[in-house]
């Protein structure tokens, strides 16, 4: 009797173990597949640890293209901020954003020459649009002097973290002083004379209450 009881218990335990082992193997396969998909995407856009969910996180993505910039951005919940974009010296565009939920997105800034103008496409999760300038100095600097320009890109190479109410430059493309002066001497039209060393500035600025 005891022998039968013992064998029954062993059989039941063995069955439960085999079922558990099968499920563990199956879930292990699923977990491995998910991890491999995540690793493949993160290889393209970079891994992104959210250290403090109350902070804005920004990491630059290498686009491998000279006139293209991209970032992976995390905005915390109840984020209220303004994005200021200055491309043409004649003015700055302001884009306001607020959201109750935290959000993560890819932001892009791309420059292209089109019909004699230099155009700047910006895409954030809250807005996208194109600014353009026909300033000859702009065109020449971006088209012919690209490798000599100063480029400051937030989140490159390190992940940038900052308070939502902190002012922070996202991208600044500027002419070195000597190059700026020499280009200004060559192009004495009024548009070029009104230019500053900055060709493009995109920054997070404090939002008015």
């Amino acid at each position: 009797m005891a022998n039968l009881w013992s064998r029954t218990v062993s059989f039941v335990l063995l069955t439960i173990t085999l079922i558990g082992g099968y499920f563990a193997w199956q879930s292990g396969q699923e977990r491995a597949a998910l991890l491999s998909q995540i690793a493949r995407i993160e290889k393209r856009i970079g891994s992104f640890p959210i250290v403090d969910p109350t902070l804005v996180h920004v990491r630059a993505i290498d686009t491998q293209q000279p006139l293209e910039f991209a970032w992976r951005i995390y905005l915390p919940a109840h984020f209220k901020m303004t994005n200021a974009q200055t491309f043409d010296p004649s003015g700055t565009n302001y884009y306001h954003y607020s959201g109750s939920e935290p959000s993560e997105f890819i932001a892009r800034v791309i420059l292209r020459e089109h019909n004699g103008s230099m155009e700047c496409y910006t895409s954030f999760n809250f807005s996208s649009g194109v600014s353009s300038t026909q300033n000859p100095l702009h065109l020449i600097a971006i088209r012919e002097q690209w490798e000599h320009l100063h480029i400051e890109q937030l989140g490159k190479p390190e992940l940038a973290k900052f308070q939502p109410n902190e002012e922070m430059p996202l991208l600044r493309i500027s002419l070195p002083s000597e190059l700026f002066e020499s280009l200004k001497l060559k192009h004495k039209d009024s548009k070029s004379q009104s230019m500053t060393e900055d060709l493009l500035q995109i920054r997070f600025v404090k939002r008015a209450p």
Binding site: S6, V9, G20, F23, A24, S27, Q37, E42, R44, Y121
Partner: protein, 212 residues
């Protein structure tokens, strides 16, 4: 007599001890297997939303069944451009583009088309309004596949659009698959500057994949 007694009592004890060890071993394996499954399941529950977020951030084409068409909309790199990553399972499909007689459903008689041999394509459609006309171009790696030139005022009244978005999807390809169906609005008679949607066929941009 004493010896006999001791033999009778010691045998069952030894038997119980051996069985107990086997049970303990099986129980340990059983708990191990189920704990491993529970750990995997709880990690899967965390990984799935993370993957969904990442797939939205960086869409990628997933071909689970190589006998079916797969399509995913990629990130736009310009305001008037759309890009799709497309997998075509055989050479039985064509890519079609039309700019006139676009209804809410169905397909116009007049259209440009190109054969899509089996393979993977990064298709891009650009709609450019230029001084000399309105241009609709479909390219694959900078190479032009389809091109339609229209009048400069073409598409100046706004539009309503269906764009194939969302995660990577697979289709059997037995019927047409719309990638983009944009229908331009029409001017409101007697109200300059105003436009409205129309029910019937109208100007627009229609890009679709069609079985041969």
């Amino acid at each position: 007599m004493n010896i006999d007694k001791s033999i009778r009592t010691s045998r069952p004890r030894l038997f119980r001890l051996q069985v107990g060890l086997r049970h303990i071993l099986l129980l340990t394996l059983c708990v191990g297997a189920w704990v491993a499954n529970w750990t995997n399941q709880s990690q899967i529950a965390k990984l799935k939303p993370r993957l969904a977020t990442l797939q939205k951030l960086a869409p990628e084409l997933i071909v689970s069944d190589p006998s079916r068409i797969a399509i995913v909309l990629l990130d736009s790199k310009w305001y008037s451009e759309l890009r799709w990553d497309v997998y075509v399972p055989s050479s039985n499909f064509q890519l079609c583009l039309a700019a006139r007689d676009i209804a809410e459903s169905g397909y116009p008689d007049q259209y440009e088309n190109v054969l899509l041999p089996k393979g993977r394509y990064e298709l891009q459609i650009q709609e450019v309004s230029q001084t000399d006309g309105f241009r609709i171009r479909v390219t694959q790696n900078e190479e032009s596949l389809l091109d339609i030139a229209e009048t400069p005022t073409f598409g100046s009244n706004g539009s309503s659009s269906f764009i194939r978005t969302g995660p990577s999807l697979q289709f059997d390809g037995l019927t047409e698959i719309d990638l983009l169906r944009r229908r331009f609005m029409v001017p409101v008679p007697g109200s300059p500057g105003s436009s409205r949607t129309t029910i019937g066929p109208t100007k627009g941009v229609l890009l679709w994949i069609k079985p041969n």
